[in-house]
Each structure stands twice: as C-alpha cells, then as structure tokens.
Symmetry: C2
DNA sequence: GATGCCATCTCAAGTAACTTGAGATGCAAG
DNA sequence: CTTGCATCTCAAGTTACTTGAGATGGCATC
C-alpha cells in the first residue's frame, strides 16, 4: 500500500482535483500529509473517504450534511439513528422535488403542444409559450 | 391606472423586492422610472412583465433563457419557433432531472429500509446508511 | 548543465441566482 | 419634531464548485 498523489486519488475516486483541495479547505477532508512539505500524499483510506463523499453528494446530500454523516460514521460517534433521520429528510426533499418537476413537465408539455397546434407560422401573437401569463409582455 | 412603488409590484407579482432590483440590474427588467429621481415607479405592464419572469423561472428556465424568451416575445422579434425549441430543450432537461431524482429516491429508500432492519440498536458498524461505499471510513 | 514537460502548488476571481445587512434618505402622521 | 415606514445604494455572503494565472519540483532529454 504505497502512498500516491492527488492525481491518483482524483482518478481512483472519480473526483476532480480541484474539488479534493476544496473539500480539504472547508474541512470535509482532513489536511493531507505532504511529501517534501509540498505535494499532498494519500493512501487507500483516503480513497474510501472520498468515495463516501462522492456517493453522498450523488445521493443529493449537501456538503454540510456530508460533514455530519462523516462525523456520525466515526467509530467513537457511531450513530445510525441520526444518519437515518438525515436520510429520511433527504428522501422527503427528493420526493418533493420530483413532484415539483413533474408539475413543471406537465406545464411545459402543454405549452409546447398548444404552440405546435397554434403557431405553425412561427409568429403568432398568441403563442402559448411566449404568453405564459396569458398576456403578452408589451411596452 | 396609477403608478405605484416597488413594494406594490413585489406584492402583486409575488416576487421579492430584492429580486426586482436584481433583475433590473442584470437587464432582465428595463430600468424603472423614478419618482423624484429616487423611488422606482411601475405600472400594470410591469406587473405582466414580472409575472412572465416569475412564471418562466417556475418552469425552470434560467435567467439567461428568460432574457431570450422576453426578447422573442417582443412584437418586432416575435418568434415562436425559437421559443418552442427552448421549451423543448428545457422539457428534456426536466425529464432527465426527474430520472436522476428517481434513481436517487430508490437508492435512499434502500439504504433506509436496510438500516431499519439492521441497526435497531442505533450503533451498528455495518449501518448501510453510514457505509454508503460498503466500507466504513476509518483512519 | 540547460531545457522541456508534467504534476502539483497557491491564491484569486468567476459562476447562478439570489439573500442579507449596513447605513442613508424621503415623506407622512402624531 | 420625532417616529416610523418604504425606499435607496452598495457590499458581502451563500453553495459547490470551476477556471485561470503564475510559481515550483522533479525527471527525462539533449
């Protein structure tokens, strides 16, 4: 298990280099050790940690929430209940967002279909896409 | 049809005052006339315009897209085809986002259910919520 | 030894779309 | 005259990056 540089870590955890430095800066990741006091070095554990961050982000958690989750996953703070609660909150938020997007989807579809039927010419003053508020915006 | 202040406009179009000033600043809304060279004044047309902005934003268009849409809705530039194309692009993006969120929903649900079954104690080292990557993050 | 070149470094600024706050001012009511 | 409200401007904060400039270290090459 040799140490490696930030490029390797980025590659292996599928996270851009700039993000890694950013995560370190805001305390999501611990300060990395330096080789020659200059280049950051990492090991296998860092890959797991960073994978955890990436996966959590992909699940929609904010960086603040990720920070909390990482804290809760440390052996001395191990706490599933809180983590599960956080996940449930997140799940609720995701479902809410889906509902909103579905409504948006319906609205957009309606506008587009109406436009297809009404404005063959391409220049109808009653175009339902451009007249979202049922009234043209004119000065 | 009397003129009114920014507070009235905000109220009637359901858009925060700060946003109205921001929209003006970035050119989404025209520079408002001033009473006494100080307070912005608006009329009914401004309400329609701002409603158009708000509705477009609610449909998920970016401010840049809103700017384009407003341009396309001006009588001299009236162009449904472009507007419709923009809407279709937006619809595609919305559907994509819904797909992603549904996958996230499934993942989160799985984790939560697994956690419910596995970690009754609240402190399982194998908690599926905390071990998103199937491995704990430890140092 | 000089010269590239690559990976890395730091620091600063840019992005979207607001949001918040400080401190000043006009105007009307009491 | 003071109080309060609506408004004003300007600056900075928010989230999570992303981009860019300019410096440096180490290694291979000529």
């Amino acid at each position: 298990m040799r140490d490696f540089g930030i490029g390797q870590l980025a590659e292996r955890a599928q996270v851009p280099i700039a993000n890694i430095r950013y995560y370190e800066e805001i305390g999501i990741l611990p300060k990395a050790a330096r080789r020659n006091g200059l280049h950051r070095t990492y090991d296998e554990v860092d890959i797991k940690r960073l994978n955890f961050v990436r996966t959590s982000r992909e699940l929609g958690f904010s960086l603040e929430q990720v920070k909390t989750l990482m804290h809760l996953s440390e052996p001395q703070n191990l706490n599933c209940d809180e983590a599960r609660a956080l996940s449930k909150t997140q799940l609720t938020a995701v479902r809410q967002k889906i509902k909103e997007l579905r409504m948006i989807e319906v609205e957009l579809s309606k506008h587009i279909i109406a436009c297809d039927e009404l404005c063959g010419c391409g220049r109808s003053a009653e175009c339902p896409v451009l007249a979202v508020t049922s009234d043209q915006v004119r000065k």
